[in-house]
């Protein structure tokens, strides 16, 4: 017996996955292997087939058709009976899902869900199960096991939930842990903590780890090897160091370049102030019953800032830091927001925050918004032409349909879409194309200020960089002032001239992008920058 030729833990050979209602296979003849104790990262954009691959390893999709071979510890997974599969799922391979809130059952306590896994996988119950649960929680870094076991999912934070999911996946002592986008729903610094935890768990118990992610730079410090997937195929695979050092495939290069791009348009000569906010704040009143004083919650503490023509002000912060509140407050889309916003039109300052009714609606033309979710921001029952032309209907009702259509097509052309899309409905378009439509909808009324609320966070990295490039080009051409709201420091660095860091509704640091990124003064900024793992 030769010691060196031990078979890998997981060996996937020419695997194809095909769904009954689609012609093209979701996964097309991919091969990879994971050895015990090794971490393989599969990286790709949405629709690249990476999650399908993860689910195929345990045959989780009952109606999918499989081809090729999956060998786990030498056993043929595709030939397994239903009983063998049950033993494989959880016992041989553990799985951590993307969205911890929906992967946990909201009406069962953490203890009950963990016990369920222990009973199923190991037949433990009673005292032994209690002890094992406590030790599992300990391993995933959750102290105070008693309180944790009695808690329900909604009482935990996002990071705690993800740790609980990992504990459940570990309950059957799997030999391979599959983590499908385990950190996508988490804030940047929680992201690193969870990855560090996964890596250390894999190392201490000799587990194989299969890490599925859309974020190539993120996996750099954690994976031994990386496989890049694109349109159902593995386009490049290699040792982490060599893949990052000398990427061979165009797609890999695009993914790597996406997060290091600097696209900001040069600032114009005349730096006329466009927008001025003074003491902008937002306070929510939370009633605590009839006889007790109401509580107050400051979503945004009084904030001052200015925005010049042709300039981008980046507003960064973790979720819940009040950055979206700030954007909506500037746009007068929040009733609770107070404070002054002056808009400097050609003729002089307009107190935008004092307007109401029709005069406010007329003024809205000058301040437009591009929102985060390109799937929710277009009404599914209007054609693209109707969506884009809506601003004209409201602000220039005198235009006849022919002229309106001409302008719609011009606006679509400006964002790089052809005239033929005007008669289609949003469902026919990809996320990046929809985001272009959303930009065209804002552009058609010739705004002076554009609030970009997480404009690229729902897009794949290489699509995001195209959209950011488009935004920079539009700014250079039209001199629009951008208020760029994002949690992603790479986006700020790509597009912004100045940056403002928000934490719990308060500005903790502001300055030019170069200065803040080179020498962050506030510890919170420093932690954000280090967590972002910018290339």
């Amino acid at each position: 017996m030769m010691p060196q030729t031990q078979p890998p833990l997981l060996d996937v050979h020419a695997l194809s996955v095909r769904y009954p209602d689609s012609a093209a296979p979701a996964v097309d003849a991919i091969s990879f292997s994971v050895a015990a104790g090794e971490t393989l990262a599969i990286v790709g954009g949405s629709g690249s087939g990476k999650s399908v691959t993860a689910r195929a390893l345990m045959r989780l999709d009952p109606d999918a058709g499989y081809g090729g071979a999956i060998r786990f510890s030498g056993d043929d997974v595709l030939g397994m009976s239903a009983r063998q599969l049950c033993a494989l799922r959880g016992g041989g391979i553990g799985m951590v899902f993307q969205e911890p809130l929906s992967a946990l059952n909201p009406v069962m306590s953490v203890g009950a869900q963990l016990a369920e896994a222990l009973v199923l996988q190991r037949g433990l119950s009673g005292k032994a199960a209690q002890a094992e649960m406590a030790s599992l929680l300990q391993r995933v870094g959750l102290d105070d096991a008693q309180r944790m076991l009695a808690s329900f999912p909604h009482q935990l934070s996002g990071g705690q939930r993800q740790r609980v999911l990992i504990a459940i996946a570990l309950a059957g002592s799997p030999k391979l842990l599959v983590a499908d986008e385990p950190t996508t729903a988490l804030d940047a610094h929680l992201r690193l903590q969870v990855l560090v935890l996964l890596k250390s768990l894999a190392r201490e118990s000799g587990m194989g780890l299969l890490l599925i992610s859309h974020d190539l730079p993120l996996v750099r410090d954690f994976a031994d090897r990386v496989a890049v997937m694109h349109e159902g195929r593995i386009v490049e695979t290699g040792e982490t160091a060599s893949l990052f050092g000398a990427p061979k495939h165009d797609y890999t290069r695009a993914l790597l370049a996406a997060r290091s791009a600097r696209l900001a348009a040069p600032l114009p000569q005349d730096r006329a102030v466009l927008l001025q906010a003074r003491g902008l704040h937002c306070r929510y009143r939370r009633s605590r019953g009839w006889f007790r004083a109401a509580e107050h919650f400051d979503a945004l503490k009084p904030t001052d800032f200015e925005l010049a023509r042709g300039e981008t002000l980046g507003i960064v912060g973790a979720s819940g830091s009040g950055k979206t509140t700030l954007g909506l407050a500037v746009l007068r889309l929040l009733r609770e927001a107070k404070g002054d916003v002056d808009f400097h039109a050609g003729s002089g300052a307009v107190a935008f925050s004092r307007l109401a009714g029709p005069s406010l609606r007329r003024m809205r033309r000058h301040l437009q918004v591009v929102l985060q979710d390109p799937f929710a921001s277009l009404s599914p029952r209007l054609t693209i032409g109707d969506v884009v032309g809506e601003g004209l209907r409201v602000h220039q009702p005198e235009l006849d349909p022919v002229e309106r259509r001409r302008r719609v097509i011009a606006a679509l052309a400006e964002v790089g879409l052809g005239a033929e899309v005007a008669d289609r409905y949003p469902h026919a378009f990809s996320g990046g194309q929809r985001q272009r439509v959303a930009i065209a909808r804002a552009l058609i009324v010739s705004p002076d200020v554009l609030v970009l609320d997480e404009p690229t966070s729902a897009l794949d990295a290489h699509v995001a960089v195209q959209v950011l490039g488009l935004l920079a080009e539009l700014q250079r051409r039209r001199g629009i002032g951008y208020l760029l709201i994002t949690h992603d420091l790479a986006v700020v660095r790509a597009l912004a001239h100045r940056v403002m860091v928000l934490k719990s509704g308060e500005v903790v640091e502001q300055g030019t992008v170069d200065a803040v990124f080179a020498e962050p003064a506030h510890p919170y900024t420093r932690s954000l920058i280090s967590a972002a793992a910018l290339p």
Binding site: D250, L371, S379, P380, L382, G416, A428, R441, L470
Partner: protein
């Protein structure tokens, strides 16, 4: 090979949508296409529509007056004009009874002729010349027999079917209009308006509908209009809840925020954005609401609280069938018409529900 990533801006040419269909179909058109693929539901819709259109022309199908009369080289149109019997050689200046064998004889002699409807009775025609006592079993004269007052059962079924469907349609339309308006206002404005309106609805819906109807039926002369008003007043609340929930969900979506940022007024947002996106549930409910309305009218008529006795109605026929159990020709055909109509509506509803299933759009 083709580069996967174009340079930042120069290459942002439109790539055709990955699954863009050749024809730009609106979501409604796609739902219609899915509906048409539901064979049973589509067939039911066609059948019901044909029957409904036919019943709208009931006067041409079942009438005691001839459509056209040629009498002594003059044209007569008894359907639109009432002629005294003296016109056709009768003795009295009363409106002509065209079932009278004497008149019939006159109309068929000397090159005169009359074109009758296929069934020679209107809803309230009493055949005074029937050979057997009422209720009379089916015969060559009365194809489905007569009821206990001597009126032709087939004629009453045809007219009753029409009234049932028209009433169901009217009640559904009114109920939907009220429900959509109420639900839209609550859902869109939410907050205090919603809170108050919800309490009003709770109070309103706890009123004992049946007793109110009984009381009103004894206060007013019973008529279709009173029944329509009373049932409408109570019939909109369930639908309002659905529309409200849809609006509450949709008003938080980003396209509404974008529309507000564009400067659309509240009514424009409701009309252009929220309403089209909130109507799937309403439409899927339409056939079921209609069958409910038909059934409500039938029940009230059965209890004698609905339309006056002269109005042809399925409920009244059922009541007669119950009173004359041996006259199977009253109860069985009525039962068949009612079951057929309700079944068609339910099949349409099932197919609509399947066609509008949001999961089918994936």
């Amino acid at each position: 090979m083709k580069p996967i990533l174009e340079p930042a801006l120069e290459g942002v040419l439109p790539s055709p949508g990955p699954d863009a269909p050749d024809l730009p179909l609106s979501p409604w058109r796609r739902a219609w296409r899915r509906f048409r693929m539901q064979k049973l539901g589509y067939f039911s819709l066609v059948t019901l529509s044909v029957l409904f259109v036919l019943s709208l022309g009931a006067e041409l199908l079942s009438n005691d007056k001839p459509l056209v009369v040629r009498y002594h080289d003059a044209w007569y149109f008894p359907m639109v004009q009432t002629y005294p019997e003296t016109e056709f050689g009768g003795d009295f200046p009363t409106p002509t009874d065209y079932l009278d064998p004497y008149i019939r004889d006159r109309l068929n002699s000397d090159g005169n002729w009359a074109l009758f409807a296929p069934n020679r009775y209107a809803a309230n025609t009493i055949n005074y010349f029937a050979p057997s006592p009422n209720p009379a079993p089916p015969s060559r004269a009365n194809w489905l027999g007569t009821d206990d007052r001597g009126r032709d059962v087939l004629a009453r079924l045809i007219y009753g079917f029409r009234i049932s469907l028209l009433f169901g349609l009217a009640l559904t339309v009114i109920g939907c209009a009220l429900g959509i308006v109420a639900g839209a206002i609550q859902g869109y404005f939410a907050g205090k308006i919603d809170l108050v309106a919800q309490r009003v609805i709770e109070v309103w819906s706890s009123m004992p509908e049946l007793y109110l109807l009984l009381i009103f039926a004894s206060m007013f002369e019973p008529s279709l209009l009173i029944l329509l008003v009373l049932l409408s007043v109570f019939g909109w609340m369930g639908l309002a809840d659905y529309v409200r929930a849809e609006f509450l969900r949709n008003r938080n979506l980003e396209y509404v925020l974008a529309a507000r940022a564009l400067g659309l007024s509240d009514w424009q947002i409701i009309w252009r954005h929220l309403l089209p996106n909130s109507l799937t549930a309403v439409i899927a409910f339409l056939p079921f609401r209609m069958s409910g309305a038909v059934l409500a009218l039938t029940s009230f008529d059965f209890l004698g609280l609905g339309v006056p006795a002269s109005t042809p109605s399925l409920g009244e026929l059922l009541a007669q069938g119950k009173a004359n159990l041996d006259a199977w020709w009253i109860s069985l055909p009525t039962f068949a018409v009612l079951v057929g109509m309700l079944l068609l509506l339910v099949f349409i509803g099932e197919a609509l529900r399947a066609a509008l299933d949001p999961r089918a759009d994936a």
